[in-house]
Each structure stands twice: as C-alpha cells, then as structure tokens.
Symmetry: C2
Subunit: 190 residues, 2 copies
C-alpha cells in the first residue's frame, strides 16, 4: 500500500482510492497490463491523474495495490501435514489467480520486480513461492529429499495450477488437486 501518512493536506478520500483501484482492476481484466496506465485509470474512474499520482508514485504501484491488496497473495499457515498443506496451498493459489485482474498483473509485475534489485518485499507481495517453501520446511523428516531443488518442484506445481487456470487443454479427470498433490509428494520424496 502506498504510504501517504506523512503527507500534508486534506484527509485521504478513500472513495477516490476505491474508484481508482476498481478502474485499475477492470482495465487489467478487460485490456491487460500494458493498457492499464494512469491516464486510462483516470478516464475510467473519473479521478484526475494528478489525484492518482498523489496516492501512487507510479502505475506499477497502483497495479500492485489493485491486483494484490494483501501483503501476501495467499496465507497458508503450514500444519506439518505435507499433503494437507499442499492441498490447501493449491486451492488457495488457484482461487487467488482465478481472478482475472490478479492473473493479468502477476506475470508483468514479477518481470518488473525481477529487474529491480532489492525489491524483496514487493516480490513477497506477488509471489506464492515463499509460502510453498514454508510448507516444505514444516514437512516431517524423511518426506522431503534435501537434494531436490525446491524451486524446480515449485515450477512444476506452478505449471499445474496455471495450466488449469489459463489453458483449456488438459483432460478433465476427477480429483485434479489430489492428483497434483500426489505428484508433488513423489517429486519431493528421498
């Protein structure tokens, strides 16, 4: 969230914030990341561009707040039950990125943040990778091979989730989440 607490002037008008954020979400969903400019948000929301710039210093920050309003894209506290944690993670991941605005923003925001050193907090905001790693760390001894690269396993899981969301090509069979959990457990085992 853009920090405006130290700025002087009138109290923050939350309805203006909400109008800009809603317009940004609509533009992301309908026209994509590149089309979601401050000017386009201003036109659609009826909020003047200068008012938008008072709240967000760039369109990237506005898009980040619009598409990822929470500090973390999903909250899955590990229980130590690997299968159950993976199941909850996959469901939360799928639900979050089924939102068209979130989906449209995620890739471009990560690409932007990658080329911008030291933005770990922003990465935390968009990426679900840290939550996945927390689940592996909480797993019982003997279930996760220490020689396996958790990034590689996460990339496979990301592929499974994104394919179901964006590519209507996989055969639909029962229990897709259970099947994915089983595959992830097989990759992880020593």
């Amino acid at each position: 969230m853009a920090d405006t607490s130290r700025r002087p002037g009138r109290p923050r008008d939350t309805s203006i914030d909400e109008r800009a954020l809603t317009a940004a979400r609509e533009l992301l969903a309908e026209q994509g990341f590149e089309a979601t400019t401050i000017q386009a948000v201003a036109v659609r929301s009826g909020v003047h561009a200068s008012a938008i710039y008072r709240r967000w210093s760039s369109r990237i920050e506005l898009i980040e707040d619009a598409a990822f309003p929470m500090e973390s894209p999903l909250q899955v506290d590990p229980t130590g039950d690997l299968r159950e944690d993976l199941r909850r993670f996959i469901l939360a991941y799928t639900a979050t990125f089924s939102d068209p605005a979130t989906r449209a923003a995620a890739g471009p925001l990560l690409a932007y943040r990658r080329s911008d050193a030291g933005r770990d907090a922003a990465y935390q905001r968009v990426s679900v990778r840290p939550q996945f790693f927390a689940i592996l760390e909480a797993a019982p001894p003997g279930t996760v091979d220490p020689t396996v690269d958790p990034h590689d396993v996460f990339d496979m899981l990301l592929g499974a989730v994104w394919t179901r969301i964006v590519v209507p090509i996989t055969d639909s069979r029962p229990d897709p989440v259970e099947r994915t959990v089983e595959m992830i457990v097989r990759m992880l085992r020593p």
Copy 2:
C-alpha cells in the same frame, strides 16, 4: 487431411489450398480460434467460401489441417534411454507449440474432439500424450513405477511446457529442460 480423392471435377488446385491454409494460420495467430471461420478465411485468402467447402467439410477440419499439418504433432521415436527421450520430447513439444497458430488451435480442437466420440485419429493428430506414453513404455525396467498414473505425470509435464510458452512468470534459471526431466524422472521412479 480432407479426403477429396473420390470427388469428380477439375484437378485439385494446390495453390488455392495453400492460400486458405495460410490465411487460417494467420487468423489463428492474430485473432484466435473463434474468429477463424470459413468466411473470414475466404475474405483473407481471396478464395471463395464454396471452394473452401469443397476441400474441407467444416472449419474444424480446415483448422486442423492448418495448425496440425502432420499426422502427429511431433515425432519422437523412443530409444529406451528415459532421460534422453524425455529431453527430446520436451524440446520437440516446446518447439511445436511455440508456433502461435498451433498454440491457438490446440486447446479448442481438443475440447471439440473430446465431445465427439470415436475421433481417436483426430486426437492423435493434436495430442502429444500418446508419444509421451510410448516413451514410458520403452523405459528400462525399474525406472517407471507401475502404480503411478502416467496421465498425471503427463499433466505435470504439460504444465511445465505450457507455462514456459504462455505465462511469462517463472524465474528464468539455467537448464530448464534438464530440471523438468529431473522432476519427471522423480515422479516416475518406484
């Protein structure tokens, strides 16, 4: 390929075929599957719709020929070396579906064929699943757990390939193909 061998009349004009196929590929790449109608192909190619219908009985068959000109989308003859076969499979799969027309047509064609019983040959034309299964069958004893569902492993591989093609979100790290091969081997092992 549409069978026109038993039809009477003038010899087949291959330049007309080529113009229609090229127009269909361009439309698929630029405007997607739904916009690729016989009428749109006729307008773009300058080939009359009736001439297109003489060669293809429906737009589905025209799109199939345009996006999948071969009998199989990729040819990977298994050698019995599981890692090497997977490596070649992934490279061929990625190359084939990096073509925008092929990519645009694959999902919709599979969705169409799924709801159309007995179209195994057409499925063979679009899906790379059978080639993956052939690789598993050729693998040395002890490398593939007979209790693992090969469809589930293929779905994970499909996710990894499609994510790299269509979703610019994965961190780019070295040797993505080797990493994917390693994950697939881990899923398969008993």
